[in-house]
Amino acid sequence: MEISSIWYFLSGLTLLSALMVVFARNPIHSVLYLVFTFFCISGHYVLLNAQFLMAVNIIVYAGAIMVLFLFVIMMLDLKRNQPESKSSLTKLAGSVVAGSLLVILIALVRQNNLPAPSEGTFVAKTGMVENLGQLLYTEYLLPFELISVLFFVAMVGAVMLGKREAGERNF
């Protein structure tokens, strides 16, 4: 089988499941379609020979974040027919925001002609762990460290929020 046909198949599947995330009536179904979308994106990473990103995508997004999403939605027990409660103003605002984002994205892609990888300069091992680590700790060191600081702040905030008040018993 051609590699491009796999790509087309995966892309179609990704788009389809991403659309299903939006159109599914049941929030649980939405989350499950989102998980499936992440798997499709991981498939794309494999096609790009970036296995490390594939694994991290599955571990972090599908394995942890989506489980928490599912967890919260199950806990809240959202009813199926609640979208009716939203006013038409909310719907209008939502479509305006999403539409302008789409316009911006399209404009961006049209302006920056992304260079196609040429046969000569293409390195198949860019996505491997070693190269990724090299890049992160040399070229992108500052953003990387800034992101760790951001995570640290978020962690401290979460601990503060989750901390037991004096005299309160949770169990």
Partner: protein
Amino acid sequence: MNLLTDIFLAKAAFIGAVFAITLGIAAYSTYFERKIAAFMQDRIGPDRAGPFGILQPLADAVKMFMKEDFIPANSNKWLFIAGPCLSMLTALMTSAVVPFGDTVTVGGVTFDLQGIDVNIGILWVFGIVSLGVYGILIGGWASNNKYSLLGAIRAASQNISYELAMGMAIIAILLFTGSLSTKAIVEGQQNGHWNIFYQPLGFLIFIICAFAECNRTPFDLPECETELIGGYHTEYSSMKLGFYLFAEYINMFISGAVMATLYFGGYDYPGIDFVTAQFGSTVAGFVGMGALIGKALIFVFIFMWVRWTLPRFRYDQLMGLGWSGLIPLSMYNVVVTAFGILIGKPFTAGIVGFLLLIGGMVVYDQLFVKKKIA
């Protein structure tokens, strides 16, 4: 092209064999679970089906298939069916990257005794383990039963909590090996340089997390009978329930194999050089496969031994152990390991770090903790 086909066929045969071995061991784990439980309680255990009851798994399977397959009226039908299937799928997928042995040559074809040797092997294991909770979560929610939902939610929070400590314990191993490939991890431990000697604390953390990830006692709160009837599989019956139970035993065996790979030298065994010299590398490879399976089975025994010894934790104790016990410990372990590698003496650093930990805890205990009045 012919060689490629041969390798492909050999791989297919090997994967089929691993599949069959895993399923067979899982089936017989149910029998040995009951036998071991019986022995530990001074009983005999199942002994009616066949000599010593060895046909018991067969009888159990027939029973499971014959029972009424029941789907609750208000459940979400497709997700209800998908739950046990996902559990089974994720349980079986992990074994793909476990290196069962060194290279062997059969009929002129040389191939690895490993499903796939990807350079992210250990991350693959980790990823699949983190997906394992979906089966429980979906099944528990789709049952449309409050107890099932509670079990599913417990499973989710428990798995996420213990994944963190597990990942940290693995990071210490990766510092040693410098590779994510399971094959490289095993090759780094050949000739008795098993990671358990360098990482006793890491192994302790890992095995505790493995218990939690497999939902085994003392961490089997998702199926806690005294509080939640049956937990996430309350509404399940027939072979769908069988799949859930079976997935647990597969997980046990696979996590035993992973622990052997990470900490006990994988397919390494004492006297491997002698066997290689006497009988050739192919025989040595197959003996190594046996050694790995033997190690995994020892871990399965330990799983069962613990199950029939310990009562289960209370839920806040479980969370406390995971978040404020194991995660700081595993961070400490990573720091000590990194320091040991930095000064070039990992073994000494590991021992000193362990002793420092114990000493620090004793000092803290003497200084700050109010003593019991005896």
